[in-house]
Amino acid sequence: MAKTVSPGVLALRKVVDDVHADARKAHAEGRLVGWSSSKFPCELAAAFDLDVMYPENQAAGIAANRDGEIMCQAAEDLGFDNDICGYARISLAYAAGKRASRKVDLETGEYVINPNSGKPLKDENGKVVIDPETGKPKKDPKTMVPYTVLDDIYEIEALPEGREKELRKAAIKPYRQMQIPQPDFVLCCNNICNCMTKWYENIARMRNIPLIMIDIPYNNTVEVADTNVAYVRAQFDNAIKQLEELTGKKFDEKKFEQACANANRTASAWLRVCDYLQYKPAPYSGFDLFNHMADIVTARAKVQAAEAFELLEKDLAEAVKNGETTTPFPEQYRVMFEGIPCWPKLPNLFKPLKANGVNVTAVVYAPAFGFVYDDLDGMARAYYKAPNSVCIEQGVDWREGICRDNKVDGVLVHYNRSCKPWSGYMAEMQRRFTEDLGVPCAGFDGDQADPRNFNEAQYETRVQGLVEAMEANKAKKEAEAK
């Protein structure tokens, strides 16, 4: 979306690339690599210098790279129902060894280009070149890509050494999320959903590896009771013991404290970056924030992540000072985007928003990763407050807080087919947003990873409806002001 990329954004990209490169290196050198749920206390793994990858983030990346469907289908072929969370399906297929690969001709060793791929070829004046033979636009060969096929690393591994093995290995798509090493252990925290528990159990079973579990039961009150904190604290001790057994190392308290300090610093910088959406017009779009999710998920306990977010913060201060924004259109309306984005359909999500001057200036991810705490009890309390583990009052309070602070005119609610705990009380939340904030809400059906569950026509109609309601609201307010 942004034409020029700011130093902060570049730094954030590097942080994620490095995390992935480190994990691949660790795996290649025979060191342990774990897979972790996004809101597992990463501070614990950091205390043991463990390289950790994040399947949710990976699945989002695979979906954004348009391979969500083939991976979801691969999981379905393994027996996982298409009702199951798309992230889980992608991850389970990956854990089973399935990979999205480029179709390769084993004779010639060349990739087989999909004639339906690619963008139209444009001439020097930017006009689409028409093929005189077919009367249809010509394709720009540089944008054409090979067919995507499904492969299996265990099948490849079993092949005799030789050309086919090498070609198939090399044909696996090269983007980082399709190159994550298989796990040696898994870290599961079910504060976001219970699906996570079964998802990680399945991985542990598939790969016959240890599972370290932090259980955070659902909470019905805004406060986290001391008894609940005690339960989680005891599990931290338990997890430390398991990590000691796994690594053969003693728990390094100093490293742990440093990881906590880093995680707090990252979370605070993240929250401040999110707060820049309060400016009117906002210096960037909430969609840009989605791009930084990878950092807050994969590198929270790393000092580099904190530094990169702090750098981005500076960029944003500068942008505000200069009255600049990365949003590529004039901001007419400001909305909260509720839920996880439909990663495979980000351009389609953005299109009608752009057409109507709607900027996303609030996303629930802001408080969702703002784990800030003082001590171990505070850490237990912080992890108790994930988006799907809190009661409706807390959930509404978070959202209405950012809606007010970030001055939204409406709310766009993603009924995410992949996420039952998230979507499960959205109808009531919508009623409360309208009642408490006087803003219109519109819901649409979609999915965080499986493109088959998104209906573009419905989405566009709902956005249109929301825009009309915001327009009417605005006119009413202006009339009242007069």
Binding site: D83, N194, T227, Q235
Partner: protein, 378 residues
């Protein structure tokens, strides 16, 4: 009393829970609705109140609940909300809302919001780390909350003595049900699939002592029967719930007997008893900790396929020839465990079919064809 008379009495209760509820209210009793799964009903009994299970409905259509839920939620939860909204359960004095699955988590909030000022909703969060000391303590803490809330409704304190007595009563009810499941499997000529379900379903609606007495009487009748020379097939059922008489009639029509079950509403709920001595709250926590081979619960030995193998062995040991899995639509714990259940069944040479079901199903033509075809290959 004859087997037939007893079975009909259970069937009456199973088909008309609202009549039973009205009867309790006429007698001046307080009644607590209990949603799935693993709520400690002993606490309700110890408070002198009647627990009634809420497992959706086979006769209702989701309408008012749509104000709270998108379509992709389990119909058991949606129909429970529907019955709270449409007045079916107006006579209840409170409900207990466990939150062990991803549908029940947000639904606990919907229940509470929808029933505001109308009905106390007692929240219950179970731990997944249920076996270690800290897990047991967490269960005790949560059960203590439930106990306190129940005491408020009952207007009386729950003593340890009363709780121990309630544990005995529920153990007796569970033991009678386990015995019945065994006997029904041995005497399918006397207990049809439809009647078997009615008996087990009635357990969720009847007061535990009268239920246990009646079931013990039925069990005695069944025990006295001569050995059954069953010429049909035998299967094991698995899933969250399969209590629709129309669906079960297909089994009876095709002479398919249910030898045992791995069903949440049936045997999964009665596998484990609580200790009758010692601290009764800890006994209930330990009972929950001892639940095993359960799709909803964390398995510390998750790198093994314990649950799948347990179910495969259940089929073999019960003398059944195959397994029918009732896959509750939108139930991700069941769906997540299916590939490894299938693996264990295939490894053990146990044939199975997976039937997609939900409580708004009205046409069983497809299910009938699938079940018939499955029976033919057994």
């Amino acid at each position: 009393m004859s087997t037939e008379v007893l079975l009909n009495e259970f069937k009456e209760v199973s088909e008309h829970p609202h009549v039973v509820l009205s009867e309790y209210k006429k007698q001046g009793k307080k009644v607590i609705g209990v949603l799935p799964y693993y709520a400690p009903v002993e606490l309700v009994v110890a408070a002198g109140m009647v627990p009634m299970g809420i497992w959706g409905s086979n006769n209702k259509t989701i309408s008012m609940a749509k104000e709270y839920c998108a379509t992709f939620y389990c119909t058991i939860a949606q129909l429970a909300l529907e019955m709270l909204l449409d007045g079916t359960m107006d006579q209840l004095d409170g409900i207990i809302t466990p939150t062990i699955c991803d549908t029940l988590r947000p639904m606990s909030q919907n229940f509470r919001v929808a029933m505001k000022d109308k009905l106390p909703c007692i929240f219950l969060a179970h731990p997944q780390h249920r076996k270690p000391a800290f897990g047991l303590q967490f269960t005790v803490d949560q059960y203590t909350h439930v106990k306190n809330e129940l005491e408020k409704i009952a207007g009386t304190a729950i003593t340890d003595e009363a709780l121990r007595e309630a544990i005995k009563v529920m153990n007796r009810s569970r033991a009678a049900r386990r015995e019945f499941v065994k006997l029904a499997g041995q005497h399918p000529d006397a207990v049809s699939a439809v009647n078997r379900s009615a008996v087990l379903r009635a357990a969720w609606f009847m007061e535990p002592v009268p239920f246990a007495e009646k079931l013990e009487a039925l069990n005695a009748e069944l025990k006295a029967l001569p050995e059954c020379k069953w010429t049909g097939k035998k299967i094991v059922t698995s899933g969250i719930i399969c209590d629709n008489p129309k669906l079960l009639q297909i089994f009876d029509d095709n002479k398919i007997a249910i030898a045992a079950d791995d069903v949440a509403q049936e045997s999964r709920a009665i596998r484990v008893d609580a200790a009758e001595t010692g601290d009764p709250m800890m006994a209930l926590a330990q009972q929950f900790a001892d639940q095993d081979y359960e799709v909803l619960l964390y398995d510390e030995h998750s790198n093994q396929n314990r649950r799948g193998e347990y179910v495969a062995n259940l089929v073999k040991n019960s003398g059944a020839q195959g397994l029918v899995l009732f896959m509750q639509q939108f139930c991700d714990p069941e769906e997540m465990e299916y590939p490894y259940l299938k693996k264990a069944l295939d490894n053990a040479g146990v044939p199975h079919i997976k039937l997609g079901v939900d409580q708004q199903m009205r046409d069983f033509g497809q299910a009938s064809t699938a079940i018939q075809a499955f029976a033919d290959v057994l």
